[in-house]
């Protein structure tokens, strides 16, 4: 079976190379037959990758340890659900997931270019073929999922941190995001190669970027919840390079999603937008490189790894190739208009872009700097949380402020009187919120108080936008209030979907500030019957309980918890010893209070005499972080939902001006 799997991947690689060659020949020779052949090659890749995936998954579920990857990341005692999720736990498995998603996305993107973008299709196939060929090459040569060995009686098992239900959702969501960014990149490059830099590629790219960006955002949040529950250090975001790997392309894609509006409305920032989309894709490749090359453990591990240099070459090609293309097409990318005033919506978008890109660069520097110090022969310097937190505050607060300012300013320019009227109530709300926080004794963290104040300002502007829009529709016609509200959103989905996303970000920030700037912590060695106090809560140690799981033994500290003097139940933080994996893990105990805070308890150790070392946190408002994910998803769905009016407009434009070669496979 391994031979068939490996053969299927080799055939898929050959088809990807054919897709490049036939796509390029079709584009330069204007041959529709070659283009159809190149497109069919993509369908062939889909079939072959499906065969490879089926063989790989079959090997995992049947415990075929003659597959090296299966033996290294599973065991006979691994629960069935984790057997499935172990498919993307290994390097080879995760790259197979990359290729599987990419080929499906490629075919969907190709289908979406039938209307109005036929001219770029051969170029698009060639670029998608090149990206596919790169990842298939990795799967065929340095990271094959089908490498075999003499089968051992059992496998090594799966890292306990990965034995968590979030393994089913977090990595696939992140990969949908990373891979999704390949499509707008391919669309942008193909449009430039074809000389078609009109608004059509922007519309096609925007939706793909939104989808990828939404998945990256959700993937990061799922990863945060996973880390919060499973890693057990007491936080949700550690500025770990693996986390930063997803954050960087997300920030750049966020900048693109804002600046592309300026291009669509005003014909400005064309070069900037292409640079952003290329940057977002390059960072998604860089993120995969970071997590897969071994460079995070040490530069030497990277030098010795089989896979790192492939990524370096790919990064050079992506960055160099897109830069050359932009320079070549500069004459076609001139702006149609200029920014008239700094007090205009387009100017706020520009400032927002500078801050987002600046923040992405700061994170990139934090990730790269330790690697550079090690590469030049020094001891690896570490860049720790305060570095990132400084930039998160320095760039984050102005960004939050711009989220509130942008909607209140009109395109082109705004008059002083209008600004005064628009900003009055949001400013009052911000000042009142700041004063209230100080009065409640929350001034211990100046960043927390300032952020709370800015969040109130921005939340009021966004809510007032919904109120004003609904009132305007209601007063113009005979629509009832709910109808006016629903139609206002329905007719301006992108605008109001964006506002919903902004609300989600505000809720997230409030949760993040509340749970970090205002958290309480306590720790102590407890003997049976002793109590640890944390804020209004107490934890009384009752004893140690032992239990057996499917592939582990567990020792838990049983703690009776009270909050404000009232019993709230028993908490049982535990340590698990995994037999096959020969490692231990921390299982934290969490109690969520009605006010949205968490009592978070970690068992740090159990002494020989039965006393336990307990670390406890009270994290106010932390539930808002997870709630923000739901709001974020609602906003993204509103933005991505097909806009019939836009579709009609595009159809009319191309019906009036039929372009050559609109029909295709």
């Amino acid at each position: 079976m391994a031979l068939v799997g490996q053969g299927a991947l080799i055939l898929a690689l050959l088809l990807a190379l054919w897709a490049i060659a036939a796509g390029l020949a079709a584009a330069t020779g204007r041959d529709a037959r070659l283009m159809r052949s190149a497109a069919l090659a993509l369908w062939g890749i889909l079939g072959l990758v499906a065969v490879a995936v089926a063989i790989f998954v079959h090997a995992i579920v049947t415990h075929d340890f003659s597959f090296q990857v299966v033996a290294s990341s599973t065991s006979r005692s691994l629960p069935w659900g984790y057997l499935i999720t172990s498919a993307w736990a290994s390097q080879a498995g995760s790259l197979l997931l990359w290729v599987s998603i990419l080929i499906v996305f490629s075919l969907l993107a190709l289908r979406a270019t039938r209307q109005g973008l036929a001219e770029i299709r051969p170029w698009l196939i060639a670029i998608l073929g090149a990206i596919l060929a790169f990842f298939l090459l990795l799967l065929v040569v340095p990271a094959s999922p089908f490498a075999t060995q003499v089968a051992p009686p059992d496998g090594n098992g799966l890292n306990p941190a990965l034995q968590n239900p979030y393994m089913a959702t977090h990595p696939p969501a992140l990969y949908l995001g990373y891979v999704g960014l390949a499509i707008p990149f391919a669309l942008a490059m193909a449009s430039m190669l074809a000389g078609r830099v009109d608004a059509r590629w922007v519309v096609a790219s925007r939706r793909w970027t939104l989808v990828a960006w939404g998945f990256l955002g959700v993937g990061m949040l799922l990863g945060s919840h996973w880390a919060y529950q499973e890693i057990g250090w007491g936080g949700f975001w550690a500025w770990d390079p693996v986390e930063n790997a997803a954050l960087m392309p997300w920030l750049v894609a966020t900048a693109f999603l804002h600046s592309v509006i300026v291009q669509e409305k005003k014909g400005m920032l064309k070069v900037w937008n292409i640079a952003l989309i290329a940057g977002a894709f390059a960072l998604s490749i860089f993120g995969t490189f970071l997590t897969r090359s071994g460079i995070l453990s040490s530069v030497h591990a990277f030098v010795e790894s089989d896979i790192g240099w492939y990524f370096i070459v790919a990064l050079i090609l992506v960055c160099g190739g897109s830069t050359l293309l932009i320079v070549w097409r500069l004459p076609l990318l001139r702006a149609d208009q200029r920014i008239e005033s700094v007090a205009s919506r387009e100017a706020t978008f520009l400032f927002n872009n500078l801050l987002l890109v600046g923040m992405a660069f700061a994170v990139l520097w934090g990730v790269v700097f330790p690697l550079l110090t090690e590469a030049v022969g020094r001891v690896r310097e570490t860049v720790s949380s305060p570095f990132y937190e400084f930039f998160a505050i320095a760039f984050g607060i102005p960004l939050l402020l711009l989220m509130g300012i942008g909607p209140l300013i009109a395109w082109r320019r705004a008059s002083l009187a209008q600004l005064r009227r628009s900003f009055l109530w949001p400013l009052v709300a911000g000042l009142v919120a700041g004063a209230a926080m100080l009065a409640l004794g929350l001034g211990s963290s100046w960043a927390g108080a300032a952020t709370g104040s800015v969040c109130a300002f921005t939340a009021v502007t966004i809510i007032s936008e919904f109120v004003r829009g609904t009132r305007a529709r209601h007063s113009l016609g005979d629509e009832r209030w709910p109808t006016a509200f629903a139609r206002m959103i329905g007719k301006n989905r992108r605008r109001y979907g964006g506002y919903v996303v902004h609300l989600g970000i505000i809720v997230f920030v409030i949760g993040a500030i509340g749970s970090s700037a205002y958290e309480s912590r306590a720790q102590g060695l407890l003997e049976r019957g002793q109590t640890l106090a944390i804020g209004d809560a107490t934890l009384t140690f009752r004893g140690v309980e032992e239990a057996e799981g499917p592939n582990y033994t567990q020792r838990a500290a049983v703690l009776d918890a009270t909050l404000g003097g009232e019993p709230i139940g028993t908490l049982a933080p535990a340590r698990r010893a995994y037999t096959r994996e020969q490692t231990t893990s921390n299982e934290v105990a969490i109690h969520t209070t009605l006010s949205g805070g968490d009592l978070f308890v970690i068992l740090d150790g159990i002494r020989g005499d039965g006393a336990v070392q307990i670390k406890a946190f009270y994290k106010p408002l932390v539930t808002l972080i997870w709630l923000s994910g739901l709001i974020f998803v609602l906003g993204v769905v509103l933005c991505v939902w097909p806009d019939a009016r836009e579709r009609r407009r595009i159809l009319r434009r191309y019906a009036e001006e039929p372009l050559s070669g609109e029909a295709g496979p």
Partner: protein, 103 residues
Amino acid sequence: MIAYLVLAALAVAVVVLVAWPLARPAAERDHLDATTEGQRRRLALREERDLALEALKELELDHATHHISDVDYADLVQRERVRAAEAIRALDEELGTGPQGAR
């Protein structure tokens, strides 16, 4: 042995798949025509027209929600109308359906 046979069958299938469109001689409809300079110009003008019309709708919403003063609204609406009219006029001239084209 079976594995090699399966692989051979897969290889034949993919070769047939990609060779299929090339198996018959090229016909007239197999030529991908490039977008002409005129088409590009007209497309750009249609985009310009649509952008201006969209901007007018956006201005209407901004005005109704009091983001823009009456004076600014009147000025900006006038500018977008001129922009749309110029695009339509240029498009008519390109197509030979406008006043100049009719002459």
